[in-house]
């Protein structure tokens, strides 16, 4: 029987710390080899740490949301597995940890009426926690006095539906009376005539994992980058005709084309003339790096939150390959299967709310990039043409640029060039 200590592995180049997202085991539980022990997150990749042996978990270090240094012992497993000798496990340093205040058992100092008397109160051990606490909440009974509970019973009202205005949501006689007066006995639907019951509940949850990363990154972007926003409309009639034609005549195995690959093509076409927009800016070093390659970030809504999967070397792809790649990396991100490489290294980002659309948006730059292009909804709008209004398929592009690196004039000029390319789609392929 030996004790195996598992350290937080170096999960990516240059990664010195990682955040615990979710534990799949707890102290005392049994694990089989290859069972997932814990999910940890670095940058934007979530990694599973499997158990190398079969055994019983002796201890775990850190709670979801804790950031631990690489090399920290995160799990110790008692195992019979061959080759595991008696081994000491060391407690890991937790870099940031929520304050824990469980038992307060303060030492005794002085008495009220006898201020000088020192007590001999024994130092009693705190009760040992249950080895495997039942992780069940809910079923919490409503907070109300016996008289209120009885009055509710007599009025045939389930107190679980009555909003309490007292501390901790305690239900007073007044709350119950108000509820009844508001027609509360029809608890299934809101009151019809006199108004609705007030909702007073709040709930708090820790912002951890991907959500915390998103929060940090976006706050950093908005705080440090002076955004220059620019919105222009594009006539999409010609491009839509071409897109419909290509989709109708595509070969088997070729993907259905959305607008994104066309927009990517347009950006790839104009970016060589605007190298400062396809760049990374390191403010501290005072260095901007421009790229010949176009690594196209595609902002993607995933079940866990916003992610930016990347199509590498988009400049080397034809429209079909581009479409396949965009689809592949976005799906991988949505399914949580994207690897670190597919989630980093973009040089410019496209963001689209898709069919949800909107007239305009002010996208936040994906630092350290310096430009982001947003796609708004394509709609038929009246356009003044040859002395009359004509119905045209119009779409807005909403873009943001890092004004420190890209001048407003250049940004506008670049978007005008993108517009021209999109309105004359044949030029995309030249």
């Amino acid at each position: 029987m030996g004790l195996l200590s598992i350290k937080l592995p170096d999960v990516g180049e240059g990664v010195v710390e990682a955040e615990i997202v979710e534990w799949h085991v707890k102290a005392g539980s049994s694990v089989a080899e290859d069972d997932n022990l814990v999910d940890i997150m670095t940058d934007k990749a979530t990694v599973e740490i499997p158990s190398p042996v079969t055994g019983v978990i002796k201890s775990i270090t850190g709670e979801p949301g804790d950031v631990l240094a690489v090399g920290t012992v995160i799990v110790t497993i008692e195992t019979d597995a061959a080759g595991v000798a008696e081994e000491e496990s060391t407690e890991a340093p937790i870099l940031r940890q929520a304050q824990d205040e469980d038992e307060k058992d303060p030492p005794l100092k002085a008495t009220k009426s006898h201020p000088r008397i020192q007590s001999g109160a024994s130092s009693e051990p705190t009760p040992t926690p249950h080895p495997e606490p039942v992780e069940e909440r809910g079923g919490k009974r409503p907070l109300a006095s016996p008289a209120v509970r009885k009055a509710a019973l007599e009025a045939n009202i389930d107190l679980a539906n009555v909003p309490g205005t007292g501390p901790a949501g305690r239900i007073s006689h007044q709350d119950l009376e108000d509820f009844i007066a508001a027609g509360g006995r029809l608890v299934a639907r809101p009151a019809s005539h006199t108004g609705r019951a007030k909702r007073t509940g709040t709930s708090t949850h820790k912002i951890i994992g991907l959500r915390r990363k998103i929060a940090q990154n976006l706050a950093h972007s908005k705080r440090t980058i002076p955004h220059f926003a620019y919105v222009e409309e594009v006539d999409m009639e010609a491009l839509e005709t071409l897109r419909a034609h290509l989709n109708a005549t595509r070969n088997e195995g070729q993907p259905k084309l959305t607008l994104l690959p066309f927009l990517s093509m347009a950006l790839i076409k104009v970016l060589p003339d605007f190298p400062n927009a396809n760049a990374h800016y390191d403010n501290e070093a005072g260095v901007a790096t421009t790229f010949e390659a176009v690594h196209m970030g595609i902002a993607t809504a995933t079940p866990n939150g916003l992610m930016v999967p990347v199509v590498k070397h988009a400049e080397a792809m034809d429209i079909w390959t581009l479409a396949s790649e965009i689809s592949r990396v976005c799906t991988a991100a949505r399914n949580g299967k994207a690897n670190k490489d597919e989630l980093s290294g973009s040089t410019i980002t496209i963001t689209s709310l898709g069919a949800l659309g909107g007239i305009a948006s002010t996208p936040v730059i994906n630092a350290p990039e310096v430009a982001i292009i947003g796609v708004n909804k394509l709609q038929i709008r009246p356009v003044w043409q040859d002395g009359a209004f004509a119905p045209r398929k119009m779409m807005n592009l909403s873009s943001s640029f890092d004004h420190r690196i890209v001048d407003g004039y250049d940004a506008a000029l670049m978007i005008q060039r993108v517009k021209t390319a999109l309105e004359n789609p044949a030029t995309l392929f030249m």
């Binding site: 469980d102 307060k104 058992d105 009220k112 009760p127 926690p129 007292g166």
Partner: protein, 469 residues
Amino acid sequence: MSKTKTTDVLIIGGGPAGYPCAIRAAQLGLNVILVDKSGLGGTCLNRGCIPSKAVIHAASRFAEISDHAAAPAMGISCAKPKVDMKTLTAWKDDLVGKLTSGVGMLLKSAGAEVLNGWAEFSDAKTCTVTLEGGETLTISAQNVVLATGSVEVELPFLPFENERIISSTGALALDKLPKTLAVVGAGYIGLELGIAFAKLGTKVSFIEALPRILPLYDAPVTRPVSRWLKTHGVEMHLSSKAKGLTKTGIEFEDKDGKVHEIAAEKVLVAVGRKPVTQGWGLENMGVDMDGPFVHVDERCATTMRGVYAIGDLTGEPMLAHKGTAQGEMVAELLAGHRNRFDPVAIPAVCFTEPEIVGVGQTPDEAKAAGEEIITGKFPLAALGKALSMQGGKDGGFVRVTARKSDHVVLGIHAVGAHVAELSGEFALALEMGARLEDIAGTIHVHPTLSEGFAESAMAALGQPLHITR
């Protein structure tokens, strides 16, 4: 041919569940017959709560005087006291008599009819009562409330027939103080009585099968009692099994299987209580059972329409105040009100030395129920009132357990001299849904033990006044 009677409500058993049910039902205008054979007030008044508290009080008085005789304190000295058990028992019986006749008067003035006799059911709504003189009476009732209570569990190898073997009932009716007493079972009944006899001067030993006393409470709470037992020369044989009587003592087997003998003029068997379900026709009533108990729902209704059961007959905890609450509730149901038995907590007290109070969840129970908790503990040794009553030295404390997120109090436990009287405030706090801030923000009289409750709440909030953090 016996006489026949009909009634709205027939209650079987006049203990602390049955008699309050009868009083309340009669107050609410129902026609009530209560049948009782073993004395109004039941186990509680006749053989349990009240007589044991009388004996415990007398024993504590005797112990205090003995202490002063042995070593004068506070400037008080006296001669070594003596106790005459016959007189003590008579004093206790007189007290019990007053209370039971008081119950009879209360029932009468409420308008409930009391029959002194033994009831036997032929079906769920009909019973034959054999009265004092052998006369029988058949009663048919619209509603029946069963409140037959419980009796002491007997051990087959230590039968109560043997005059050296006594139950808790027998222990409260001794006319001579035994020199040595072995108590089998270190639950609250055995401990309360064993400690009382130890205070009266009997050499007391406990034989308990479990490795600890009072397993329903957590170890920190029972530790002061263990300490008292140890310092007062009470022998504790834990993890041990009683075997049987010897000529002058009792044999028991320790956890290693070794057999020992200890002297025991008397042996008190206090290994629990069982519901009275035999001998009165329960089997003819068509009600479902729940183990040894009668199965009831939250309204104390059995599976037979119109038949209710209350008190010890319905299961743990077998406590008088639980039965009383159920009895009142059923009476209101029968009078047409809506009601149910849904206390937040059923408080429990052990009149040991020192006393223990438990209301609601212990920290471990709360954690097991999925709560994230904070606790606050305040030692009674930091209270002037406790010290002035010489009550600060026994390691007593008040401990409050609250939910971490909203500070709602989940449980309150206390141990120490006289803390039983705090149980009411503890229970009120839980029933009213108090938060720690409510307790800490309520002015508690100085100097009283109740200050300890407020201080424990402050301690849980991280701001105790009279202890250092």
